[in-house]
Subunit: 300 residues, 4 copies
């Protein structure tokens, strides 16, 4: 079901929770229908925005099972399997395959930072054993390592790796990735940070894994299409709107503020619970009020 290359907007789905280890199945259903109604081109489960690494293995399995059931193959489903343990990444990939997911997404092991040759060997060991196509995920702020351009170039020759998602926010390097993969039109290069979706697509990237698309899927689909069509006046207009939406993301402190802001806004919109997995907690009242204010300004 996966196109080659995969293109478009693939939101990293937040994981609605009733309690730290209990899935909000109703919320999940509403959320999935909300983003699909916005026209997104795929869904990414258990990513950073989905708090994947914070969830128990049991809950990760449940997220995959329930989400694939709800999605009913309307769009491709990608599943994050990043783990500090090789064997656990493999185990989760097998579960994803058994639920008919379409691909897995893998960041480097995130406890020990591997050197680039070590990382490449690790990918050579793991990829042949994966039951699904794999997208490599560059997330240096969490994994402590940058996937270097030469490492990507070599990794792309391992059968089974279908694409690359770059969440480093380093736009110079993203251009290098694009340049070095020019002869591989089947290989998908996706942008992480939503603020850079438009330029990534303008310069040849295939789409984005935009966290804000949980909230405003249509905005990101429109932005993707305008960029793809090089409709620059439209791109600028949508980009300006996007930078207003972003005010939702910086209302708390610490790394967690983005996910807290998105979940809080989804809760205010009546879509799902805002419970966070440990080590985080939902916004308390003062931040919640600020989210409500920004939301009403944005939606006016």
């Amino acid at each position: 079901m996966l196109s080659h290359p995969l293109t478009g907007v693939i939101p990293p789905l937040v994981t609605p929770l009733l309690d730290a280890d209990e899935l909000d199945v109703d919320g999940l259903e509403k959320l999935i229908e909300h983003v699909l109604a916005g026209g997104v081109h795929g869904l990414f489960l258990l990513g950073t925005t989905g708090e994947g690494p914070s969830l128990s293995f049991r809950l990760q399995q449940e997220v995959i099972q329930e989400s694939t059931r709800i999605i009913r193959r309307r769009v491709p489903v990608m599943v994050g399997i990043s783990h500090s343990s090789f064997a656990e990444s493999l185990r989760l990939a097998e579960h994803a395959a058994s639920c008919n997911a379409d691909a897995v997404v893998l960041a480097p092991p995130y406890y020990f930072p591997a050197g680039q040759p070590e990382l490449l060997e690790y990918l050579e060991d793991l990829t042949p054993r994966l039951p699904l196509p794999m997208f490599l995920y560059n997330m240096p702020s969490m994994t402590k390592i940058h996937i270097e351009v030469d490492t990507l170039r070599r990794a792309a020759d391992i059968p089974g790796i279908g694409g690359f998602k770059d969440s480093s926010g380093n736009m110079v390097r993203f251009h290098e990735f694009l340049q070095v993969m020019r002869d591989r039109p089947d290989f998908s290069i996706l942008m992480g940070p939503e603020e850079l979706l438009a330029e990534a697509v303008i310069f040849g990237g295939h789409g984005g894994v935009s966290g804000g698309a949980n909230l405003f899927p249509r905005l990101f689909v429109d932005l993707y299409e305008a960029a793809r069509d090089l409709n620059m006046p439209r791109v600028k207009q949508l980009q300006e709107h996007l930078f207003n939406v972003r005010k939702l993301y910086g209302l708390g402190k610490y790394t967690s503020t983005f996910i807290k802001g998105v979940k809080c806004a989804l809760n205010l919109k009546g879509i799902c619970s805002d419970v966070m997995a440990e080590p985080f907690k939902a916004f308390r009242q003062p931040e919640r009020e600020k989210v409500a204010q920004v939301l009403s300004a944005v939606e006016r």
Copy 2:
């Protein structure tokens, strides 16, 4: 079985492996007898040196079960339960308790870096549910967060937290930790980096979790005792020897070189296998020969 405070040398045991996901039980037994014969005061399973976060949950359980069986309560056993997921840390702690381990050791969740207040809340949520006393583990190079002095001071008031292991290598902050905990003689403050064991103990620390004690347990026990007794000429003599031993640790590249060096030397000494868990591989021949050279120089 735990003393208050826990004192002495507690090696972070390497995990002997026959294959990436298969325990070297014979090697484990020889290794444990080797370090116990050296007079160590406790053992720490599944730490960073033990490649804990790289092992599957199944293998982690086996390590705990086999190690506690072999140790037969001759020394206290501490078990690393650090994980990116709260529920998985809890699950491993329960297994450790069922095997009659004496304590657990917990670093902050290592995917998302929590802010200090978030970390404190996390500890307040987790600690009461743990079936064993917990030692807090500061390991910023892996977890991306420093446990701050004020956070330790507050965490120490949570019932169930019995001590602190600082692997930051920041000696100024270690002194601050010692100063702020002066009124808590029951609370154990342990040094991670073995190069700083002596001064940590001289200035009031309770001992160290010295990786090199896998290889040369007696050296570290002697150093600990000399430091405890403020026998400075002896401390300096042993410290000089330790800095020769350290040449074993820098023979490869990348973060992994320390563990690779220790496992390779243990293998050369006939104690256990040198197989590494992914994403790492054992030293190849060139590095192995250098390890042999340093080893023979050190043991002469």
Copy 3:
């Protein structure tokens, strides 16, 4: 002579040297004529690419004097006055004014990293005493501090600050700078890294301080104009060429490789000497040969 806002390509001129403390005046003349012939819109002296902070005060004065003499007001001249000492920055600004330069460029003091409020107070103290309009320069890799969006917003209200040059390479933040300055059409926002020139201009930036324009001024002028005109096919074609040119910049090691590569290529093209100021040295033969190869491939 300065337009408001200043727009276009303003190369940060390399400083041709005969010896560590001796200007290559002939080389300087050829270099200036070379870049002016390429159609650039201004010149920036004593920036990072110009090794400004490595030069003696005497030599800095000479660079300004000779350059302004050669340029003869054909384009606006900006002069870097960044220094760890307030008084020395001021002294250099006064010399620049006496030579009829058009503006000065100032990065935060680069020994002590100031906090944002400290930086703002420093700007409030310094700017009124400057005899020329000032452009603020964000260069975190050298100064250790990021100029934050809110600091720029406040600094822009200090009379005398005419623009901002962002060399952080952080494109997300660059968009934030653009958004927050939308109501100040007179205030110039310039991009440092040449790889991001095109998208900076596409999204509303005013131009770039592109180091590669020392070598290929026409390429950057063309790229700027294509981006300004939203001529995307042309932008992509020129961008691809630019990424071939960039191969000149990574042929050595360390931070210095960019400047060494540019000076070596200028020397091979017969424009000026490749002597570097301390603590650097010109490329030796092996790197020089690689530069020659890339150059001939690029110019074919």
Copy 4:
């Protein structure tokens, strides 16, 4: 007048100012007499604590001239000549020699971070031209580079380099420096951070450049002597006092809080002005009151 190796407590003198660019000569005299009365073994002018890099060249010259006049060769005088420009470092060294200073202190050029081989070549170029013995200064938080152990080992063979001051705070590396220089009893290894003075001396270091000795010179001289004599009960008692004194250093925000705290306390003790060089300002009333409180608690 310099002993080989230089030993003891050498305070990095703060620079008393009446205005941003005006020396407080009376304050300087009182300060020098205050620290000399405390028994210090040398004085270090224009270091980080002396805000050396923030001062104009003119003011730096005046500081050297007035200080050497006041000191009258009662103790050795070291002068910081760190600069981003080779020629300016040299120029300042020549002034220091003309004032009969005893040595210069040099950190790596602090704008461009040199690679280790570049740094070594720079030292090979500069040192023979210096008119005074040079102490190499490791200050990575400001210069962005760590002087590596192997670089120090090679630098120590350049005639004219007489010692090393390590302000990295990395105690593991300090031990490595001590080990690698064991066969050079004439070469002085000094500790920067005062919190580590005692252990540095216990393990073979020659003394320390302790900022707090501006305020409490006798405390640091006593601590140095107790450590040198391996009088551990005395060391611990003084160390505890030192950690109370340190509360003066963290009362503001940002990197500048240490110097602001010391200058404020000196002002409260009636010794000198607390004016700071740009980009900093003296503590305002709220912080000043906190300094007064800590001071009275410490001096009780």
